[in-house]
């Protein structure tokens, strides 16, 4: 059963994506998108239902040498990237692709037989199933959201010929590849899917074909290719040292001492750092924000960039307790603190989200580097909660942007009046990124408890959390700002947009409420591979199981309190009559300008009231922090390699 699920979850989206290229009718395409999304969600739920640790060997099922096929496809893919590099006159892309193609060809041809003997090709466990659930559920919802979004987007661009077939082709190709990436057990397969996601990311960033988007897409491509080179180096080294390319063999076969594979794992971590846009590779993710918003939501926050952290979390048993693990944790925590600080200085909503994404990925990597059960648990929980909340936030920003024509946070002042639904959803999404008892904060809480034995990492995490509070709070403040309105209007949204926002909101809330279930069901089984003496601090976690009590913190009462508060909203709103409304205090010079609040300035001119948020650019801007942060993180990465030799 599991093997069929694996086949469906990888091949089905790819087949759908080919259909989009063939069938050009919008109606058929949209219905296929919705149907395919439903199938994908059901498949992923099937994984959850048949959950269990399992290794699946598809070798025999299809009767074809799958390893060979993947190798051929890999060469084709790299050849295409070289073609792209030549066509775009980008020498660095060509060189980096060649730097992958030549060693790969040498490696595959030299060790052909040994590679073909490698056994189980797919491996299922809590982590990969969680990733499949995220990719399939969030990814499908975002694909459905794109129906409404891309329609309006193309109307706005005034395209003569719709480019949606290509868009949905790449999106579904990506979903298939991403499922393959997290399910694959063979590192070479993983590498293939890794490169496919890189290419998808390139195509989607360049989708609007403006000068800026092509430039940013090129940068994203070469940075990710650089990571690909590191990945390949890691694979070859692992093969050289252990004679195998299976992840499960590496982690569970206790015959391999972890000291032996530290260097290759360091290379894999390097690849993960580029994919997850950790400092100093953050620039490509920020550039990727020119892509249509569903792309940012899908690839550049909730799924593709998670591939990097997935890799680090996957190898966390190797990292735990080593110097390499400490350096990885340090680099991740450093990224978390610095990018959270830079996010304070940003007023572009998508850039804030991008920085926050990088920061959270850094936190996940920090947890994975610590490697204790609590830390890995925190990392996996963060992957889940960050994916749902950040996906939701991006979709909200996209919806707002299409309505008001700006993605600047300052322009979102009073958005409640125009778009109450989206603004409320966005505010709840932002709160779920920030405050208890939502999942992100609970995982951050676990992270702090886990980092307590690594003071340097801990300090960075604590400082980063404080910065996080600043930029989220002032943004939520803008979203919720409103002066008195008699009747809350109902905004017009495309049905797919409204429904996906609603469903994602429900998922955000449900996931946070079900954190104990998620933990016990998916995360705890993950710890079998971690040996006893490497556990560094596991107090809070031991109490996490059981009757809804995490640590010693009663979880559900907080939800009851918040629920009661939410229930009081209609009562509060109803109780207030229009006669009680007063304008804000302006020293008695207040006035009303077309329903907005203003004041009389000199010579009695009526001036609208305006207030810009604090951005503290003198301290936290990219210019002041960016260079030094990149330098320090580059040094950290060099040290990371040095300690792993």
């Amino acid at each position: 059963m599991e093997s069929w699920l694996v086949v469906v979850s990888i091949l089905f989206p790819i087949i759908c994506s080919l259909l989009f290229l063939l069938l050009r009718s919008p109606v058929i395409r949209n219905s296929i998108v919705i149907a395919a999304s439903a199938v994908l969600i059901l498949t992923s739920l099937g994984f959850a239902y048949f959950f269990g640790q399992a290794s699946i060997d598809l070798h025999d099922i299809l009767g074809i040498e799958l390893n060979e096929i993947v190798a051929v496809l890999d060469f084709a893919l790299l050849a295409y990237i070289i073609y792209v590099g030549i066509r775009l006159h980008s020498r660095i892309i060509t060189i980096l692709a060649l730097a992958q193609l030549i060693p790969l060809a040498y490696f595959e041809l030299t060790y052909r037989e040994a590679l073909q003997r490698s056994g189980a090709l797919f491996h299922l466990d809590g982590l990969s199933i969680i990733m499949v659930l995220i990719i399939s559920i969030i990814g499908s919802l975002i694909a459905v959201f794109s129906i409404g979004y891309m329609k309006k987007h193309e109307e706005h661009l005034k395209l003569e010929k719709s480019r949606q077939p290509v868009f949905f082709f790449v999106i579904f190709l990506f979903l298939g590849a991403m499922n393959g990436l997290v399910l694959a057990d063979n590192l070479l397969w993983m590498f293939f899917f890794w490169e496919v996601t890189t290419l998808c990311s390139f195509l989607l960033i360049a989708h609007d074909k403006t000068e800026e988007s092509i430039k940013n897409a090129k940068r994203a491509l070469w940075i990710n290719l650089l990571g690909g080179v590191g990945f390949l180096a890691g694979i070859i080294l692992i093969f050289g040292k252990t004679g195998g390319v299976l992840v499960s063999g590496l982690l569970e076969g206790n015959n391999v001492p972890s000291e032996l594979v530290l260097l290759p794992v360091a290379f894999l971590c390097f690849a993960a750092f580029t994919k997850s846009a950790q400092l100093p590779f953050q620039s490509w993710l920020l550039g990727a924000m020119v892509a249509p918003t569903p792309v940012s939501a899908l690839l550049h926050s909730s799924t593709m960039v998670k591939a990097g952290v997935y890799l680090v979390v996957r190898f966390s048993p190797v990292l735990a307790g080593t110097h390499l693990g400490f350096m990885v944790a340090l680099a991740g925590a450093f990224t978390f603190a610095v990018t959270s600080a830079i996010a304070i200085s940003q007023s572009n909503a998508k850039r804030v989200l991008a920085y926050s994404t990088i920061a959270n990925l850094g936190l996940i990597i920090a947890c994975a580097g610590i490697g204790s059960p609590v830390a890995v648990g925190a990392a996996i929980l963060l992957i889940i909660f960050h994916a749902v909340s950040k996906g939701l936030m991006f979709l909200c920003v996209g919806t707002i942007e299409q309505e008001i024509g700006s993605r600047d946070i300052e322009d979102m002042d009073g958005i409640m009046k125009k778009m109450p639904f989206t603004a409320t959803v966005a505010a709840i999404g932002a709160i779920s990124m920030l405050l208890p008892p939502f999942g992100v904060l609970v995982s951050k809480w676990l992270a702090i408890e886990a980092a307590v034995r690594m003071p340097v990492v801990l300090i960075l995490i604590v400082i980063g959390s404080a910065f996080t509070l600043v930029f989220w709070t002032k943004w939520i403040g803008k979203l919720l700002a409103v002066n008195y309105i008699k009747k809350i209007p109902r905004e017009k949204l495309h049905p797919t947009v409204r429904s996906t926002l609603g469903i994602l909101l429900v998922i955000v809330l449900a996931a946070s409420m079900g954190i104990v279930f998620l933990f016990n069901f998916f995360v705890s089984p993950q710890f079998a591979g971690i040996t006893e003496e490497r556990i560094m601090g596991g107090r809070g976690l031991l109490e996490i199981a059981g009757d809804g009590v995490i640590g010693s913190f009663a979880y559900f009462p907080i939800f009851i309190v918040l629920g009661a508060l939410a229930l009081s909203i209609p009562f509060i709103l109803r109780k207030v009559s229009p006669e009680k409304v007063r304008q804000p205090y302006f020293c008695g010079e207040n006035c009303e300008i077309e329903g907005n609040i203003g004041f009389r300035a000199e010579a009695d001119t009526e001036t609208p009231s305006a207030f810009r948020n604090y951005y503290l650019r003198w301290a936290f801007s990219e210019e002041t922090l960016g260079f030094w942060a990149s330098m320090i993180s580059a040094i950290l990465i060099i040290v990371l390699f040095v300690v792993s030799i």
């Binding site: 007063r582 304008q583 205090y585 020293c587 008695g588 207040n590």
Partner: protein
């Protein structure tokens, strides 16, 4: 309602609005805050915001230019509220009464509860005026309630 009425008398928060007085009354009002008079004994606090205030203390001769501001400040105070006009100018326009731009007293713009006469009044008188205004406010609330019942 007993405890709330009692609390009102015990905690009148004051916002001071100066309609262009000669500053003599203002100095006397501020003198109330000093250790000699110490209005905080009566729970009187000088707040800078009409939204927090119970008593509006007005000094100076209100004129056509600032009556709008006075009205706005008064409107922004939550009920129940009281107004104390401090000094001759606030009560009638005082020596400026005949001026082309001066209105004849604060009560032309907003309802006044207590007039504290003098040019300028003593701090004791001002404190007395504020307390009287609050008591008057309470009486007004009680009588309004009785009317409602009937």
């Amino acid at each position: 309602m007993g405890i709330i009425n009692k609390s009102r008398v015990k905690s009148p928060w004051v916002v001071h609005f100066d309609c262009g007085s000669c500053n003599a009354c203002d100095i006397e009002i501020l003198a109330c805050l000093t250790p000699i008079y110490d209005v905080e004994r009566f729970g009187i606090v000088n707040v800078g915001n009409p939204k927090h205030a119970d008593v509006l203390v007005v000094s100076g001769a209100v004129n056509n230019r600032n009556k709008r501001v006075l009205k706005n400040v008064y409107d922004q105070m939550p009920d129940p509220k009281a107004v104390v006009a401090v000094g001759a100018c606030a009560a009638t326009g005082g020596v400026f009464k005949e001026c082309y731009n001066v209105l004849e007293g604060v009560d032309k713009v907003i309802p006044v509860d207590v007039y504290v006469p003098g040019c300028c009044p003593k701090p004791e008188a001002i404190i007395d005026g504020i307390i009287k205004a609050v008591e008057k406010m309470n009486q007004r609330i009680d009588s309004e309630k009785k009317e409602k019942k009937e």
